[in-house]
Amino acid sequence: MSSVQGASFGQRNFKYLLVGPAIFVLLLVGVFPLVYLLTVSFQGITMTETSTDFIGSANYKQLFDDARLWQALLHTLIITAIALPLELVLGLTMAQLFLDRLPGRAIFIALLVLPVVVSPIVSGATWALLFNHRFGPINQIIGWIAGKETILLWTINPDLVYPAIIAAEIWQWTPFMFLLLLAALGNVDRSQLEAAAIDGASWWRTFSRIVLPAIAPVMTVAILIRGLDLFRLFDIVWALTQGGPGTMTETISVFTYVKGFQQFETSYTAAVALLVIILLSALVMFLLRRVELAR
């Protein structure tokens, strides 16, 4: 009797034993930073001020008055709102193109996914080379089309920096959408499509009534993953513009980095970081309630 109890007790501990080390490491990045940020955000540490006295909620008041911070959030949203739908539509179109049999299909797909595995800082650097206004090939191509020498200052002209960033972003992540949607389209029930074809349903009707509902779950996951990635956008912007000209393309991650590691406003950065975590957590919780990843 006691041995049976011992076994079940042992097993109950065993399952926690397996989880324990991982949870411990996760707490290190999941909970420790929160506590630490909360503490520091009520202090007044800057580059010149090292005192750890508590100064109340001054940093939080500053959050609301900081136009640059809210602009950074706005920039992040703008890039997301433009890049994400474009990636989705482009990815879906490409997926349609590669859905049926095609000579060399596997090779095309293998090549097309390469941008996804390139480090974002490398792709940012690559696009900085492509967009370079003096030696880059993009201006030359535009010049061929325009029929005369064209010099566009992609990373300097305020009207052109967003297209430049979004182009790099789309190049890197459209293949991601493409791959996921291709897999989803491949799983659409063929017999339904054939039935629709026999009934003479139009392309749009077939797409909106059969295909779209079938791929919706995968599409949601893809949008979720990419949306959250875009919210944290840093590398590509860093390589292309470093947030410039001025602060025109500063995303929330770039802003936080500049405040924390270039201007050393430690306590204020802590408040900003907490704000970012809270905003994102709210978004994630809202979305996770709607979507269940992998069942």
Partner: protein
């Protein structure tokens, strides 16, 4: 009047043309990046731009190896390899517990996956302050620990889904045969998940290898990774483009090679398991 076969042929031809053009457009940036590393300075700064180097010249690579800059690829390898190994071990046993005993229920599983979504910049800031305190800035251990932690949710999430695919009956018969749970994990479940483990490990590795923001904050000179090294050439002296490009090639080629071996698991890996390949 065109026959059905002709129309099919035309359609296929159009699709093939579109596929070729699309692939060329998506490959072009990579081509350009790679080619710059082989160009001479005068070719790089030529106007109009040269679309290919007159000859493959390895001077820039030579300089990178001579000056030790190329060693940063080695640093990337060390931190990516050890953080992957650690995350895979801790993540696998944790995933087993979640998959088989539903440890912590839905809340724990959801909490773990939500950790994946935390913005790196918000985490790395307090971690940096902590590391300064403990003297872990610019050390292998510091970087490895953070990559491990950041990759764990992904490993747990993916391995949980792979373990759920393993039939329980196999484990039960092994238990009846007198294996302990611990033995079941290593002798029954692990071999069954080999493919999933490999795919997940590769993604974990790629993440750590390609990361920039953590390395930017937590490394200085001793353990700087190749991504940080690339940014050292930004806005630098003459010929910095060649270095940016050559360093990028050194860091990117290994990833391309690795990717070529994991085509089958790619979709499941990047969709966080939402699509079973």
């Amino acid at each position: 009047m065109s026959t059905l076969a002709q129309r099919r042929g035309l359609r296929l031809g159009l699709r093939l043309t579109a596929a070729v053009l699309l692939t060329l457009v998506f490959m072009f940036p990579i081509y350009w990046l790679f080619m710059i590393s082989f160009k001479t300075a005068s070719e790089i700064y030529a106007f109009p731009p040269r679309w290919y180097p007159s000859s493959f010249n390895f001077d820039t690579y030579h300089v990178l190896f001579r000056d030790g800059d190329a060693a940063t690829v080695g640093n990337s390898l060390v931190v990516a390899f050890f953080s992957t190994a650690l995350a895979m071990f801790l993540g696998f046993i944790c995933a087993y517990s979640l998959a088989r005993f539903s440890t912590g229920g839905k809340h724990l599983a959801n909490w773990i996956v939500s950790q994946r979504m935390i913005p790196p910049i918000a985490v790395v800031f307090p971690i940096f302050l902590l590391y300064v305190w403990f003297g872990l800035v610019d050390t292998y251990i510091g970087v490895i620990l953070l990559y491990t932690a950041f990759n764990l949710p992904y490993v747990i999430w993916m391995m949980r889904s792979y373990i759920l695919d393993v039939p329980r009956a196999l484990e039960e018969s092994a238990l009846v045969d007198g294996c302990t749970r611990w033995e079941v994990i290593w002798k029954v479940v692990l071999p069954m998940c080999r493919a999933g483990l490999a795919a997940t490990a590769i993604f974990t590795f790629v993440f750590a290898w390609n990361d920039f923001i953590f390395a930017l904050v937590l490394t200085r000179t001793e353990v700087a990774t190749y991504t940080v090294q690339i940014t050292h050439y930004f806005g630098g002296q003459s010929n910095f483009w060649a270095k940016i490009s050559a360093m990028s090639v050194l860091g990117t080629v290994p990833i391309f090679v690795v990717t070529a071996f994991m085509q089958r698991y790619f979709v499941r890996g990047i969709s966080l398991g939402a699509i079973k390949g």
